[in-house]
Each structure stands twice: as C-alpha cells, then as structure tokens.
C-alpha cells in the first residue's frame, strides 16, 4: 500500500496520520473510504478514496498525489480501524457519482472521436508552447554570448536554472535537463568557457533544428523531438518491428537524471551484433523488475523494440523467451579505431549524443595528468572514473582485457571488465 506513496516524505507523513484519533466522521461503505482530518486550514480536509481505482480526492492543497491524507486513510482502513457504515458521507457519494458519470462518458460510443479531437488539440497547444519556449531559449542564449561567458560565472551556481524552469513550463524537459546540467560548468575548473560554449552552441542548434523540423528527414526529426523532450509512448515503441536475439548485458550504470535515479543497461545481441540501451527511472529510488535483474554476466533471450530516431539504440523489451541466464565473455570486442568510427557515424545522425557503448580489448595505462585506455595498436583515449580504474588495472595485470563501458566526449568510462569468463563490475 505504501508503494502508492509518491515519495518517502509522504510515506512518513501518512504513517503519522494513520491513527483513528486523527480522523472524524470517518468510515467505509462498499468501495469507498472517507474521513475528515484536521489540518493547518480552518476547515478540516475531506478525504475520499475509491478502492476500485484506487482513486483519491482530498480538499487539502497538497500537490502530491495521492496526498498524505489519502494514504493515511488507506493505512487506517488496512489496520481495520475504519468503521463499516451503512451509508457513505454526502461528499463521498457525490464524488463517486461524478467519477462514474465521467467513466461512462469515456466508455460511450461518442467518446472516441471526441477523445481524438481533444488529443489533437492538446498536441497543438504543446507544439505552440514548445516553439515559444525554444524561441525564448534562443534569445537567452544570444544574450549570454553578447554579455560574455564571464557573466555566467559571476551569477554563480545555477545561472541557467531560471531558464531551465522556463523550459519545464514550455513542456520541453529535454532542453530543461540540458540547461540544468550546464549550470554547473562555470564552477567546473579549468577550460570551463570552452565547455560552456559547446553546450550553448548545441542547445542553440537544437532550437534551430526544431524550428525547421518540417524540413528534416524523419529520423533526424525524431532525434530532435526526443532531445527537446517529446516522449514516445511505450505502446508506440512496442508496435515497431521486434529484433529477437540473445542480448548479453555488457554494462549497467546508475546515474542521476536531474534528481531522479536513472539506470542505463547496455546490451549487445549475440547474433545481430547490435547494441541496445534499456533506460529506466526509479523516482522512489529502487529499481525493480527486469532492470534490477539484468547485471553484467547475464544474457536475456528476448524481443527488443527500438525507439524511433537514429542511431537506433534505446529499446524496450517485448516478449521474453526465458529468464536471464549466465553468459561468458562477450564476442565482438574491437579496437579504438572501430569504436571511434562508430562514434563519428553516430554523431552524424545525432549531434547531441553524449554516450555511446564501447566493447574493447584494451589496457588501462596509469599516468599523469590522467589515466588512458590503450588498445593493442597503441591508440589511446582518456580513461574516466577514478573509482573503477584500480580494479580495472588489477584485472588487466598490464595485459589487454575485454572491457565494456561508455564513450563520452571527455573519454571512456569503463563499467565492466571480464576476468577470464567472469564479468566484474567496476
């Protein structure tokens, strides 16, 4: 039941309110729970829960959903402390009736066309908001360049946060996330003006590309839309043709997307040789289901469906043909020449790309100012991630080893190394 809580704070608050003493005129009848709970306002809050949904209604001003009152009411009921009543309170039955009327309207024969029309109207509204927001973004970026990058540093941490909030309002969360990330650059040490200008330029490019979306090839248009923050529904992705394979888990990386924990699971198909990315989010902090079960050293026999846009990388799993099973060392480990040409080709299709899967035979090389990862031909890229470097060095013993990781513009982050046939997370 507590899994319904939107965050841990709500959970704690609800547990505190889940006592009969906090509630008056509370009861349950049929599928309804209701009660009044004294809050900070003059009037007690009236809370109703419909167990069929479950659906909630509360007169409190909380924007969390369900609010702590609804959760507390559920907990009280679960504890058996809510009295069974013959008839529900007036406000509860009124709300239930209006819910049922709405549900009947949706289910009716006239519902669909009206729904589609409403959806089209909403899509049109969003497109206008996004376009207006990105126009503001272009003006803001121009202002930054006119005023000089030093002004951004003078503004301190979070100089772009206000603009990021504007992008959230404009329903362009991708642009918002990019702005939040670049907010920290002026404090990131030597060379920050170059890094900041690069991010400004790429955002500017995104806004310009979005302006001309109609003239772009469909795959590139899909990239632009996804970078702006339009999402593709899971159902639409699952409707694309399936790619069946035994997908070997190469690497798993947990990151923070804004403040939400996100997990990237990199896969490689044993037969197709294709890479794939499963991206998942855990607002409550715990990954569950398939994403939690996939760890390097396993393979998944399943159909994958790729998101639209090029290069096709992000995917969702469709039907599975078995549980994740142990796999040995992956085939297909290449060298840096191959990796960097794949990276170039990928950037040609998506210039905003910042991470790309790497599967290499290579040696970590300690040194100053930074470590490098060298392939047998003596080519090398910077090796990132101070925590993982030593373990990689220990496993390599100075010899080339099979490494999986992520390539980013700054260098390569090693995530998994194979010690013989055994996958070792770094």
């Amino acid at each position: 039941m507590l899994a319904l809580a939107p965050d841990p704070a709500s959970r704690r608050a609800a547990a505190g309110l889940a006592r009969p003493a906090c509630w008056s005129d509370a009861g349950t009848a049929g599928d309804l729970l209701w009660g009044s709970c004294a809050g900070s306002g003059r009037q007690p809050y009236q809370t109703v829960v419909d167990l069929t949904g479950p659906a909630y209604r509360c007169s409190c001003p909380s924007r969390k959903f369900p609010c702590k009152h609804a959760l507390a009411l559920l907990l009280t009921w679960a504890g058996g402390s809510l009295p069974e009543q013959g008839e529900a309170a007036g406000y509860a039955t009124t709300w239930q009736a209006s819910r049922q009327a709405r549900a009947a309207g949706r289910g009716g024969t006239g519902g669909k066309p009206k729904d589609a029309a409403a959806a089209a109207r909403r899509a049109g509204q969003r497109a206008e908001r996004v376009a207006a927001g990105l126009a503001d973004l272009q003006v803001w970026l121009g202002d930054q360049i006119r005023a000089g990058l030093t002004a951004a540093r003078a503004a301190g941490y979070g100089h772009a946060d206000a603009m990021a909030a504007r992008m959230v309002d404009a329903q362009a969360p991708g642009a918002a996330a990019a702005l939040r990330r670049l907010s920290a650059i002026p404090m990131s040490g030597d060379g920050w003006p170059g890094r900041l200008l690069a991010e400004y330029g790429l955002l500017h490019l995104l806004a310009r590309a979005h302006q001309q979306e109609g003239t772009l090839a469909p795959p590139l248009a899909a990239v632009v839309r996804s970078r702006v923050g339009y999402t593709t529904s899971r159902e639409d992705v699952l409707a694309t043709p399936a790619v069946a394979d035994r997908w070997q888990v190469l690497a798993v990386r947990d990151v923070l997307d804004g403040t939400i924990p996100a997990r990237r699971v990199w896969l490689r198909g044993q037969h197709t040789g294709r890479f794939a990315l499963l991206l998942s989010f855990a607002p409550a902090g715990n990954f569950s289901g398939l994403e939690a079960a996939l760890i390097p050293g396993l393979e998944l026999d399943a159909d994958l469906h790729f998101y639209p846009g090029q290069p096709a990388m992000r995917a969702v799993p469709g039907p599975r043909h078995g549980s994740p099973a142990p796999a040995g060392r992956p085939a297909g480990a290449g060298d840096l020449t191959g990796l960097l040409s794949a990276w170039s080709a990928a950037l040609a299709e998506d210039p905003w790309l910042t991470e790309w899967p790497a599967l290499l035979t290579a040696v970590p090389v300690p040194g100053e100012p930074g470590w490098r990862l060298a392939d047998p031909a003596g080519l090398a890229v910077p090796l990132l991630g101070q925590e993982s470097q030593w373990r990689l060095l220990a496993v390599s013993g100075g010899q080339p080893v099979c490494v999986a990781g992520e390539l980013s513009p700054a260098g390569l982050t090693a995530l998994t190394v194979w010690h013989g046939d055994q996958a070792v997370r770094l």
């Binding site: 272009q138 970026l141 121009g142 202002d143 360049i145 006119r146 005023a147 000089g148 990058l149 030093t150 002004a151 003006p193 170059g194 200008l197 690069a198 400004y200 330029g201 790429l202 500017h204 490019l205 310009r208 840096l336 020449t337 960097l340 990276w343 170039s344 950037l347 040609a348 210039p351 040696v363 090389v365 300690p366 490098r372 060298a374 003596g378 080519l379 090398a380 890229v381 030593w390 373990r391 060095l393 220990a394 496993v395 013993g397 100075g398 010899q399 080339p400 513009p409 190394v417 010690h419 055994q422 070792v424």
Partner: protein, 528 residues
C-alpha cells in the same frame, strides 16, 4: 577575417560579442565547408552556430593519442586464484568483520591460494586502514598484487611490511640502503649463512650509529646459536642501553652461554631450599649490594617500581633471569611443587614476581600453569597490594604462554562457574580459535543460558548485566567457534535464535554469529 578556430570563438564569447559585434564568416578545419549555414543576421547567433559546428566536428573527428606504451605486465603467478565462490565469500567477510577476514585470508594463503585480481584494490585499501590485516593480505597478493601495489605509494606499505628480502639484491642494500632495507638484507643473509651475517655486522660494528646497532642486533635472533655468544658478550658493554637490552634478550635464549651460568650462580645464595619432606621451605634473602658485573648482566638496570624497595626489586630481577629449568634440577622438584612451597619471611611475592617475569619471558608453559594455579590459591600472600605490570605480569600474560589446549581448558573452567567475571570473558576473547569442542560447548551453553534466562531475573542480570559483554562474546564466538567438524554450530545457534522464547536482541545477535560461522565453513570447504 581569418578562419575562426574554436579557441577564437571561446575568446570572443568569454568577453561578450556585445562589445564587438562581428559576424563569424569563416571557420578553420573541415567545418569550413559548412560556413554557409552560419547566421548572417546576428553576430551572437553566428557564434553559437559556429560553436555547435566546431564542437560536433571536433567530437566526431576524435583523434586518439598514438604510440601509448602499455605498463610493463605483471609476472605470471604460479599460485592459483581463489575460486569465484570463495572470492564472493571473501568479499562478504571483508564487509563484515576484519578479524574474520584475517582468518580467511590466512587460511587461503596456507592452502596455497592467492587473492582474486578484482578484490586486490579493496584488500590493499583495507590493509592500509587496518595494520593487523597487513601480514594476511601481503601473504595472498601474489605477483599480480605486488605488481598492482607498485603503482601506488600507500599500497607499497603493505608489501614492504612483508618483504622477503633477497640476498641476491646485492650488498648495495647493506652499504647504502635505509635502516629497514639493511636489516632486511642482513636477515636474508642470516637465513642462508648465519656466520657470514654475524661477521658482516661485526665488521662494521664500531662505525654504526647507536640507533643502527639497536635496530640490527635483534636480527641475530634468526638462527641464533652458541657461535654468536662471544659477539653478544661484547655487545653487553655497548654505550647504548637498547643495544645492551637486545644482547641480554639474545643471551637469555642460549642456555649454554656463560651469561646463564653467571646469573644462576648469583641466584643460588638468595633462594635456598631448607628442610625435607612436608616441612620443606624456601628461604629467600635480600641481596646485600650487587657488584658492577651484575649490572652488566642485566640486574639493577632499571629503578625499582614504586612501592618496592631497591633490594627487593634486585631479588626479583636476579630470580627472573635464571633459566627456569635450573630451579627444577637444583631442587629436584617439578615446577608445580616449587611454586607451592612456602617462602619464609615476607619475600614470597618478590620471589613469585621473579618467576612470573621469567615464565613470560622464557615462554615456559609448565611454569605459567603452575604460577597461575598458585596465584589463584594464595591471592593475598602472593599479591599484597597492586603492583605495576612491569613487576608482576598479569594472568593474561601467563595464559598467553600456555599451549592452546590448556588455554581453552582453563577458559572453559572459568566460564563454567556461576558468575562470569570480566577477566574470564577477556581470556575467552583472547583465546585463539578455532576453539576445541569442550570450550565451544561451554560457550554455546552460556549463550543458551543467557537467552533462556527470564529477563530481569537475578540470573539474567548477574551474568548478562552488560550487553557489551554480549557484543564481545558474539564477535569472539562468530570468529572462533569451530566452522568445520562434526558439530554444526551455525545450525545450533539458528535453532536457538528461532526458539519462541528468544528475547531481543538475541535473535539478531545469534543469527549474526551463525551466518559468520556458516560463511567460514563455506569458505573453508571451497579451498580445501
């Protein structure tokens, strides 16, 4: 306008194009071909366009560094790595308990395994934090671990502590090395050619500093023999006290040395056996001033501990230096009979103090056992007032000399009494494992009694007043209850924890002990 590079763009943008509004109209490198897409209306937009173009061009045209040489590879290891399951258990132990980790690493090393490469950084880090782990970690590093440690100054400390120097390193280490390197070289030489090592030390002895002499002389403890006596005798006249003390410690380990004869001769008149049969008595007398030769032999070096007269302290010292076997042969009695004899006058405690010092220093199990029994029987006579440890080694020190079986028996007896003293518990936690079955049974029944005692009852309060005890007992039991053999203690403790009557916090404590024992058992099964 010249072709704009990325650095040029950054310079312009840093200052701000508001002051010098100029359009970017040409670009450096391959991006020059795309200059047509740059904004021609707004200088700021042209800078942003150019930045995007050059950034993507730079990222896509990534040129890797060339000609990077690999680190010299690690030498091949002959010892096998721990199997993966054992390695997983080791990781779990590393998170749980450093003492258990030490035991498992020691067992792995003894079984001929080395640590798995992926665990090496964590083990080296743990050994840096916890000095007690270092020998066990150093023992399982293998070639790979030593190669890895060579890449980090802090990790080298783990390796250096356990370095087995190689005399083939050459005499350079002896001539120019640091003090520890020189001691390492000398030790290695001593192991292969004891006489050559002694002569090497003697050859440069006069020109060594006092600190060097004090650091190098103890190396002769390796392969000590009567041949070293003459050199050690000269060291007794050293200017530096630490050197004289080291020489005394070494001479004391040579029963045939003249020094032994001298200290024994000095003791005979001071402690005599008189009478026969049941009327036998020891008669002790205070030394009436000692000659300078006595000081040279190690008597009267330190001032007497507070509360003890100089003469009584000399008596204790004289007795403490005598090889314990000499008493038995002179009196024709066993150690237990000797220490049970009454001592005429009020010098009994000074005589026993000497024997206790000797038993600890000479590591004599017979005497330690006899003195422990005598001390328990006559606490008042033998230990009037509290003496400093320097003059009266504590029971724990004597216990540490006992062979493991005797030690376990003693602890089992102490724990079988109705009240458990802190001292008994301290002896238990210090008692090395795995405990013999007799002691293990006592500990398990102790835990059972604690768990089943009615909370708040006098019995529960008397024996388990402090949960601190429970914590110490739990750690010791987890580490030392036998993990292998006929009795499955993990299962026994789990049953106890799951009995309906088990009050908190015992279920948690017992499960923790049981899981550690199960982990040790699983690990030992993997490596044997």
């Amino acid at each position: 306008m010249t072709a704009m590079s990325y650095a040029g763009l950054v310079a312009a943008a840093t200052v701000g194009v508001g002051r010098r509004p100029e359009l970017v109209t040409s670009l450096a490198g391959p991006a020059a071909a795309h200059v047509g897409v740059l904004s021609t209306a707004d200088p700021a937009a042209s800078v942003l366009d150019a930045a995007a173009l050059l950034t993507v061009a730079h990222r896509a045209g990534w040129l890797p560094q060339t000609g990077v040489s690999h680190p010299g590879p690690a030498a091949a290891d002959s010892a096998p790595e721990l199997p993966p399951r054992a390695a997983a258990l080791l990781s779990r132990a590393a998170e749980a308990d450093a003492a258990v980790l030490t035991d498992l690493l020691t067992a792995a090393g003894a079984a001929g395994y080395r640590a798995p490469a992926p665990l090496l950084p964590a083990l080296l880090d743990a050994a840096i934090r916890d000095r007690a782990l270092r020998p066990a970690v150093a023992d399982v590093l293998g070639q790979r671990g030593r190669w890895l440690a060579a890449h980090r100054a802090d990790w080298q400390r783990v390796v250096a502590g356990a370095a087995r120097p190689d005399p083939a390193d050459g005499p350079d280490a002896w001539q120019t090395g640091r003090r520890d390197e020189r001691a390492g070289y000398l030790a290695a030489l001593r192991d292969t050619d004891p006489a050559a090592a002694r002569e090497l030390l003697r050859a440069g002895w006069a020109s060594e500093t006092g600190d060097d002499r004090a650091a190098l002389l103890p190396v002769l403890a390796r392969g000590l023999s009567a041949a070293d006596e003459e050199f050690l005798e000269t060291a007794l006249d050293d200017r530096k006290g630490a050197v004289r003390a080291a020489a005394l410690r070494l001479l004391a380990r040579l029963p045939s040395a003249a020094w032994s004869g001298r200290v024994t001769e000095r003791a005979w008149p001071l402690l005599r056996l008189e009478g026969t049969g049941p009327g036998r008595t020891l008669v002790a007398s205070l030394p009436g001033g000692l000659d300078p030769a006595a000081a040279r032999d190690g008597i009267g070096g330190q001032p007497p501990p507070p509360g003890i007269s100089a003469a009584a302290w000399q008596l204790t010292q004289v007795i403490s230096l005598v090889p314990l076997g000499q008493w038995a042969s002179r009196f024709g009695l066993a150690p237990a009979e000797i220490v049970a004899l009454p001592v005429a006058g009020d010098l009994a405690s000074h005589v026993h103090a000497g024997w206790r010092l000797a038993a600890v220093r000479q590591a004599s199990p017979d005497w330690a056992a006899a003195l422990l029994t005598a001390g328990a029987r006559h606490p008042q006579t033998l230990r009037a007032g509290s003496r400093p440890l320097a003059a009266w080694p504590a029971d724990e020190q004597l216990v540490a000399v006992l062979p493991p079986a005797a030690r376990a028996d003693r602890v089992a007896r102490l724990l079988s009494r109705t009240t458990i003293t802190p001292a008994a518990l301290a002896e238990l936690t210090a008692c090395p494992g795995p405990w013999p079955a007799s002691l293990a049974e006592v500990v398990v029944s102790l835990l059972r009694a604690a768990v089943t005692a009615v909370p708040g009852s006098p019995a529960a309060q008397a024996s388990w007043a402090g949960t601190r005890w429970a914590g110490e007992l739990a750690s010791a039991a987890a580490r030392n209850l036998p993990a292998t053999g006929g009795i499955d203690y993990a299962a026994a403790l789990t049953r106890l924890a799951e009995a309906g009557s088990c009050p908190p916090p015992w279920p948690v404590v017992l499960h923790r002990i049981a899981s550690t024992i199960a982990l040790r058992r699983a690990f030992l099964e993997e490596i044997h």
